[in-house]
Amino acid sequence: MDSRFPRGKSPVLERALGRPRSELSLAAFALLFSELVQYCQRRVASVAELQARLAQLGHHVGLRALDALVARERPGRRETKVLGVLLFVKGPLWRALFGREADKLEQANDDERTFYVIEREPVVNTFVSVPRENSSLNCAAFAAGLLEAVLGAAGFPARVSAHWHKGTTLMIKFDEAVIARDKSLEGR
């Protein structure tokens, strides 16, 4: 590491990982998020691309949120089962990031790889109104990217997408290997 800025111990790295100290106003986040969406919108040509961009930004956030959160909420233990990680997502993760738990967690009837996290009104969409011509746009694609990064980094690679269903549904489709591993863990 080059010593461009000769200084003592970095305050950021020395800080303890305690409970997050404060909460910030929703208005500030909402305005920042709106600028983010507008910025992405200027550079894309279709709704799918816009959602992909938002998912990419959410990915960036999710990767960095996971470590600190796990260290705080589940010290010394790692989730190894699919159900465990999903309950962690629905409860502690959602509460730490969005201030409240997700409304529902469901499994698809016909597919053991697919789960749904359902929220009536996701926090990121609080001040978002979607015009009719873009009606398939769901800015919760940001949350979908975030969730995908979290699951991937936790060892449960999956594809997550956002849909308009019972409010907003994040559809999680785990990789085959994850389900196979889970089954073999149960059989042990």
Partner: protein, 180 residues
């Protein structure tokens, strides 16, 4: 937007981490798309400006403050009320010039750089928090106070503190003659 009447917003707050990480994701995306630091800084300033012109409404609605009678009152208001409301920190204010229209906000703790240790070598002149300058400038413009806002010192670049300089662009005596 359809929202059932009488349902009040339970939660006007979000986690600080989400906000800070989202800002970081934004800056990272801009760095990927623009090669020059000046372009990223300008883009952040522009985005901050559009945020500021809308933030001022929220600020005035929630804080119900009296009209400021001088530039130093305005600077104090920004530091003690606005920063506290939106970022949870209170910078200290100092006046830089005898004419009374240049002020500095000295940020001891800056939540936006919670997770930033240092700037990468190839981005040495990036103003990471330049959004804040745009926000202040936009908000002030909406209350008819033209100002130039920029970073005078930045801890990420090796300075001792983070300092935001606000220069009001009209002479203080002019305000006395305006009938508002």
């Amino acid at each position: 937007m359809s929202r059932s009447p009488g349902r009040k917003q339970e939660n006007h707050k979000i986690s600080r981490e989400l906000f800070v990480l989202t800002y970081g994701a934004l800056v990272a995306q801009l760095c990927k798309e623009y090669e020059k630091d000046e372009d990223v800084n300008a883009c952040l300033d522009r985005m901050g400006y559009s945020i500021g012109i809308r933030l001022i409404d929220d600020f005035l609605a929630r804080s119900a403050v009296r009209k400021c009678r001088s530039y130093s009152e305005t600077a104090d208001m920004i530091a003690q009320v606005a920063f506290k409301m939106y970022l949870g920190v209170t910078p200290s204010v100092s006046c830089n010039s005898v004419t009374g229209n240049e002020f500095s906000l000295i940020l001891d703790k800056n939540p936006l750089v919670d997770f930033v240790e240092e700037l990468p070598a190839e981005r040495a002149s990036l103003c990471y928090c330049n959004l804040l300058c745009g926000v202040i400038r936009g908000a002030l413009e909406m209350v008819h106070l033209a100002a130039e806002v920029s970073f005078l010192q930045d801890r990420l670049k090796g300075d001792a503190v983070t300092e935001i300089g606000i220069t009001f662009l009209r002479k203080p005596e002019d305000r006395r003659h305006r009938r508002n």
